[in-house]
Structure formats: structure tokens, C-alpha cells
Amino acid sequence: MLGELGQLALCFALALSLVMSGAGLMGAKAGAGIHAELARRVATASALGLLVFVALAFGTLVTAFVTSDFSIADVANNSHTLKPLIYKITGVWGNHEGSMLLWVLVLSLYAGAVAFLQRGGERLTSAALGVQGLLAAAFLLFILFTSNPFLRIDPAPFEGAGLNPLLQDPGLAIHPPMLYAGYVGLSASFSYAAAALLVGEEGWARAARPFMLIAWMALTCGIALGSWWAYYELGWGGFWFWDPVENASLMPWLVATALLHSALATERSGAFRTWTLLLAIGGFSLSLIGTFLVRSGVLSSVHAFASDPTRGFFIMVLIVCAIGAALALFAWRAPTLKGGTSFDTVSRESALLLNNVFLVGSTAAVFVGTLYPLALDALTHGQQKISVGPPYYALTFAPIFFALLLLVPFGPQLGWRRGDLKASLRMLSPALGLAAVAALVVLTVASPRFVTGTLAFAVAGWLIGASILDFLKRRGARAAAFAAALAHAGLGVTLMGVTATSLWRSEALDVVGPGETMTVGPYTLRFDGVTQVQGANFQATQAHIALMDHGRVASVLKPESRVYPVEGQEVADTAIRTTGFSDLYLALGDNRGQGRWTVRAYVSPLAPFIWLGALVMALGGALSLWGRLRIRIGAASPAVQPAE
């Protein structure tokens, strides 16, 4: 029953998406006639209908997981009655079929929001709905033909196969929806950009701005959550591995960041018109490529659920069509757009241009590093298998991004069209002082001393100092005016965390028996043996490790090694004690007999700053968004722009 309901909802959704694309494109074309008006209403209504039916299909699948309806193959393969409720729900997107349905749900949510908000002119909105409808139709076809989550199995098994225990984790439960809200959210900018090319409308950047901001914030949080999960769950103490799947989410983020900045200039002074359109197309294209990399099984990763070649082929055809059509449209229509006004060499526009050059350059470095191994493998028919690791990114990505960070503080201080570099430098000079202080503090406190570490802290001080000055300068302004300062300060916070954790992490690896001690960094740890603990659907071996302070027990940490009998797997559960400025991180290793265990311990200075900074960046985005929506709701002073 549930299966049929979900299946039916998907079919209705497909029909509505086709109506939506047809009506949307017609409504964009026909101008002011009565037919055009009707087409636009049909497009709006079917966008909302699409959302309702996709949500119904998704709700059906969630119900099937919650009630453990094992007559549905997807549930039987990926769930189990003994799983805690939360992991029954999150298990919906812990597999290929369910995660593709989530993908389409997010796409429909954005379609619904575009239809509901009606930002920009009515022709622009209509065309954007048309493009969004085409995307929805393509992915619904993909789901129905290659990845149907509602397929039945007969006879239904009594029990399901369970979910990969690595995925049974609260951090990972919200990571995919968050990441998708960002990834797929770029579809709205893509649709608006394509719509702008179709109708020759120039106000698209302002219309699409809230969607860009939401997508960028979600992507920022999603990447941070994924990195945090890798940090505490994988037990290696690392937070970023330059894994192709991580890169697949980083590339859209870099381009989305470039887009946010470039669109600002387009909106304000009409500069970079065509370039901003290209970025909007490129951002979503990288999302699609990322989806292909992750979903087609070409990568070996915890994310690669599917290894069905027809799926990979289908997604590849879909990507080639979407990107190809968008670029063709761009090549055809972009030359007809008017050029922007001119600006001085020293101006806000120039700063935003440099921002874009650096961001796109760093994206190119990540792109080559991610795809070169795959290309080489394909070209040599599997004879040459290589992997590209951190040293490559340290040589290419890091210097570009470093140069970008160095220039960030100038942007918000330079005037539009014509800026005054000397005045900006004078205004920013106290930040140079903070940079010097940060460098000196690092030189005295941290050992060993690193040139790169000192420079990185100086830049972090420069970024945060400049943000504080910017705050003071804009005192009394509306909240949205502080968005850039907040986001840029977040960059500085993350930079400190990344640098300190990478350069000054202490590590210890010991085999210890009951009562024996080990030291890591400034800490002395006493191993007090292990106990067995019964979890909801796992059996855990829990170590008791006392953190000693002058012979007394300051606190007890309990890293675990969990066995999930249903899935037949073992997963480490780390114990982390944080002071906010440094993490003590323990992972329990192998049993060496006679009560002796290997224990891995790290002290990661400033590790929490990595994710705190990302949160601050996202808050900056939220401030900007709030300003936008408030202006729209209040509609009192549409002419006044938030000084971002």
C-alpha cells in the first residue's frame, strides 16, 4: 500500500514538473497576453503541486522506514527493527535511492519558494520556474527508471539488513540534508540565470540573491558538519582529507562564494554581468558533477552506495545535457546583454574581481586534483591508479587561498567605482597591529616555530582586526551592514583552527594495561581497564581513561569500540574533552590480550575554531539574508541597499 502511494505520488510529481516547465517557458515568452498570464499561473500552481507530491512521496518513504515495512526493497536493504527511531528516519537518506529522493525534495522546495516569493519580474519568475521544472523532471525520471525507492520484494523478509554503523550518528544524520540544501539550492541561481538569458532581464541577480545566500549558508554548514563528523567518528583526528567526495562539496562552495561577491557588483553597478551568469551556471554544474562523482560509484568512499553503471551513465547524460544546454544558451544570448559601467583600478569592483580570480583559480586546482586520477584511470584502462593527496593541495590550493585572505579586508573599505587605497590602509592600520600581536603570541607560545604558522596567524589577526574596525565604522547601521564583517571574521577564526591543528597537534600511541599511564602533550592519562556496555543496537567495549592532574583524577574519558551485530561491523567511538581552545581526543584501538589495549591520543590546539569559524561565516550570510527579506516585507525603502 505504502509503496503504491509513493510510486503514484512520484508519477504525479513527474507530470506536474513537465507541465511546470512547459507553462513556465511559455509564460516567459508570450509577454503580456491573456495566454501568457494563464501560463504563468499554471506554472506557479504546478510548482506548488510538485512540492506537495514530492513531499508526499518522501513522507511515504519515511513512514515505510519508521514502520519497518520490509516489503519495500529499499527499507529491507537499509533498515532494521532494532534501530533507534532517529536512525530509522535518517536511514531514509543513508542509501542511494532515498538520498536521490531527498535531492528532488530539496529541488522542489526551491521551486516552491521561487513560485511563492515571485521575486523579479513575472516573466523572469516564469522562465526560472520553467528551467527548475526541467531539472525536476530529469531527476524524477532518473529516480523512476534507475533508482526507484518504492520497488517491492516478494516475499518480504522478516528483518532488514541494517544501516552502515558509520552512518548511525547524529552529525551524519543532518549532514546530508544540510549539504543538499546547499548543493541543490544552487539550482535556483542556475534557473534564474538561465531565465535571465532567455528573457533578457537584468534584475535577476537581486531576485536570486536570497536563494544564493541560503544555498551558500547551507553549503557552509553542511561542509563543516561533514568535516566535524570525519573528525570525531573516523578516529584519525583529522578534519579534512582532500577526499574526492569532500572536494565535490568544496568546489560548489568556492564557486558559490565567488557568485555571492560577483552578484553583489552586478546588482550594485551592473559590473560583471555575463561573468555572474556564468558563475551561476558553473556553481550548479559543479553540484551536478559532484552528484555524479558521489552517486555513480566511481569513487571509493563511505558515500559511494551505488555502483550500478546504468545510474552513472544516466546521471552523466543528464549532466552533459544540463550543462551543455546552459552553456549554449549563454553563448547565444550573453553577447546581447549590455556591458556594465566602468570602474577604476582601485575600487570595490576591482576587489571583487580579484576575489573571483582567486576563488576560481583555487576551484581549478581542486578540480584538476579531483578529476585527474579518474581521467588517468579511464585513459589507461585501469592500469594507472593514482591518488592525489594533501601535498598537492598544499602546493596549489593553499597559496592561492592565502593570497585571497590577505586581500579580503580591503574589499569592504573601498568605494564603488572609485576607491581610495591610502585611506583604506590608514583605516585598516590598527588591524596590522593586531596581526603583529597574533604573530608575536604564536612565536612565544607555540613550539616548534613555523614560518607558515606565524604568517597564518598574522593573516587571521589581520582579518579579525579588519572586521572589528568595519564593525566600529558601521556602528548604528542596520544589521545587514555587518554581514561581510562577520563572514570575514569567521574566515580568520577557521584559519586559526586549521593552522594550529595541522601544525601543533600532539599525538601519542601506546599499548597500556590497567593502572598504566601514558602522556600526550601536557596531559597524563591513566588507563583503568574496559567494561562492556549494551547499547540500543550495539555492544560496546568502553575504556575508562582518567585524566590526571597532580596525582588526582580530573575527569574520566570513555572512548568505545562498538560492535553492531546486525551489520556485523565494528566502529570506534572517540571520546573528546574540549576546553574550547584545545581538544583532548582519545580513540580505543585493538585488544592486545591480558587487559592491554592500544590507545591513540591527540591534543589538537584550537580544533573547535575550525567549525566555530564556519558557523560565524554562516551567521554572516544569515544577517545579509535577514536584511534582504526585511526590506522586502517592510518594502518601505526599496532604493536603499544594505552596505554589504
Binding site: V357, G369, K385, I386, T396, Q569
Partner: protein, 147 residues
């Protein structure tokens, strides 16, 4: 040439130069920092100098795992045709098992032992690292559906 045109020309020249620097960095970075993957048979066929980092993968030979002092562990990786001894000082991944797939990163020492700096095992029961599957297929030891 007016000022605006000259400025555009300078900008284009700077962009080309920046692109050139980026391209050189990427090519240089790829040339010196990629890790090749070899199966034990590949390793026997090629001559890899000690100290050159690469990745090796195959199955952990049954009854070959020996724990030494501290966290030291030794085992043998095989693709059915050739074996390579591996030495590792660290915590083995939770899914490390004899008879199952593993990928190690490291370099050979002068005696021909692979000194691993990182060991990756498969993520779950259904999953085998694709490199290992390919290596087993090449040595004829791969069976569809696992062991």
C-alpha cells in the same frame, strides 16, 4: 590607445600570467605528489626504489598478522600471485581482518618490507576497495560475490 583599453590589456596580461603560474603549479604538484597504486604483482614487475611513497593493496594473508612491541604490527598482503610483507606502527582500522581487503600507504625499506604510514580497510561488509577488486581480477583471484 586610450587609458581604458590599456587598462584592459594590462588586466588580460595579468590574468594570463596568473593562469600560467597556476597551470605550472598544478602540473608540478601533480608530477611530484601523486601516489601510485600497485598490487603485489605490479610491485614484482616494476622496480620501485626504497623510500618512494606509493599505495599497495590486496588481501591480508591468513594467519600472517603478528603484533610486535608497542603498537607495532606486521602482516602480509597478497593478491594470490605475489606477497608483500607490511610493517605498521599504529592503530589498525576497526574493519581490518585476515583474509579481507586492505589498502596501505607508505614506502619500501631497503629489505623490501613495506613501511606503512596509513592503513585503510573497507568501510563495511559489502564494500571492497575498488583498487583491490581490480588487482584481484588481474591476478585471477576475484570471485563475484566475495570469498
Amino acid at each position: 590607445m586610450n587609458a581604458k583599453k590599456r587598462r584592459r590589456l594590462y588586466f588580460a596580461a595579468a590574468l594570463v600570467a596568473a593562469g600560467g603560474v597556476l597551470a605550472v603549479a598544478i602540473v608540478y604538484g601533480l608530477g611530484n605528489n601523486v601516489l601510485y597504486f600497485y598490487s603485489p604483482s605490479d610491485l614484482a614487475a616494476k622496480h620501485v626504489n626504497p623510500g618512494v611513497a606509493f599505495r599497495i593493496g590486496g588481501l591480508v594473508e591468513k594467519a600472517s598478522v603478528h603484533h610486535g612491541a608497542g603498537a607495532d604490527v606486521r602482516f602480509i598482503v597478497t593478491d594470490g600471485a605475489r606477497d608483500v610483507p607490511i610493517d605498521y606502527n599504529g592503530v589498525l582500522p576497526a574493519l581490518f581482518r585476515e583474509g579481507q581487503g586492505v589498502v596501505a600507504t607508505g614506502a619500501l625499506d631497503t629489505s623490501g618490507t613495506f613501511e606503512a604510514t596509513e592503513i585503510l580497510a573497507k568501510h563495511d561488509e559489502k564494500y571492497m576497495p575498488p583498487e583491490v577488486v581490480a588487482a584481484l581480477k588481474r591476478s585471477g583471484r576475484w570471485k563475484e560475490g566475495g570469498e
